[in-house]
Symmetry: C2
């Protein structure tokens, strides 16, 4: 069975970007160090293992636009479902096909069907993560907590219903603490 | 040298209490599980070791009022400095003296002087923690992250300046992940 995992990097004060994220600073003002952990071999290994468990990705139109679909190398190497109100034909880059879907629930359903029994990773942005949680569609929450206070930016959590989490695992790499919870 | 450590329990979504904290529900609506980790032997041992490193405590008037000074058993067993605009004579309970100080900076200074070279622990509430961070008076931030989403309540962080943190240690106990950072 596919588990749906929200998989996202966040500052200690809960921001997934600094202020004013956009095409020229995808992580917002001051937000670049959020992803420092991916520069370290241990972080890259953790990221690779995480990706290896996934069979499909759900992400937002904003993340897709800001990252230009993760470049022409088809970074994901698996089906990616982009949540958007502006549905357009699928885009294929290398071995990654980006399919545009109007709504979080149909995107998750399509990703589960495409994941071949592997997990579905929800890789941002914050709004998609919140919608997946609110819809009760998340099985796991994996936070990569970067050692910084951003003070402002895009909050990962912005209200929402209370939920019990069950701690699964904590791993430290040189620039992040990676905590996995089961939702519920 | 005394280090000043902000030492506080927080939900995964960054709340130190649920909604409507008050004398009858110090941790707010739904917030009681925040402190579940103190019910486990491993959590109690971690708490005891943390307390053993401290020579004085700084806390808020609200926390003092809500907890009634932690009861007549003088729970802290060390000097406690209560930040308040309503300064009154010190209160002695068992071997704990509660001294009322108008302002975070003088409270930290008084606590350092009283700590006998041991650390000063800032034990809430959120506003005091924020003021200590904003004033550049915090040396360490120790978060006891409880496995729950509260959705609403008292946020630990509410803006403030960006700050780099240096990860020191992560420890898991049955109902919390305890992460220590050095500030700066």
């Amino acid at each position: 069975m596919s588990d749906v995992e929200i998989n996202i990097t966040v500052s200690v004060d809960g921001f997934v970007t600094g202020p004013d994220p956009g095409p020229h600073q995808g992580l917002g003002a001051g937000g670049e160090p959020l992803h420092d952990w991916l520069e370290h071999p241990a972080g890259r290994a953790l990221s690779a293992a995480t990706f290896a468990a996934a069979g499909a990705v759900v992400t937002s139109r904003t993340v897709y636009d800001v990252t230009s679909g993760w470049g022409d190398d088809g970074f994901y190497h698996m089906p990616v479902f982009v949540v958007t109100h502006r549905v357009e034909p699928p885009v294929r880059k290398s071995d990654t096909t980006f399919t545009f879907v109007d709504g979080v629930a149909p995107a998750i359903a399509a990703a589960k069907a495409a994941a071949g029994g592997k997990d579905v990773h929800v890789m941002g942005g914050a709004s998609i993560a919140q919608q997946v949680l609110a819809a009760g569609l998340a099985d796991r929450l994996r936070l990569h907590v970067a050692p910084m206070l951003l003070g402002a930016g895009t909050p990962l959590f912005a209200g929402g219903a209370p939920a019990a989490l069950t701690h699964v695992e904590t791993v430290d790499t040189p620039s992040a603490t990676h905590i996995t919870y089961r939702v519920g």
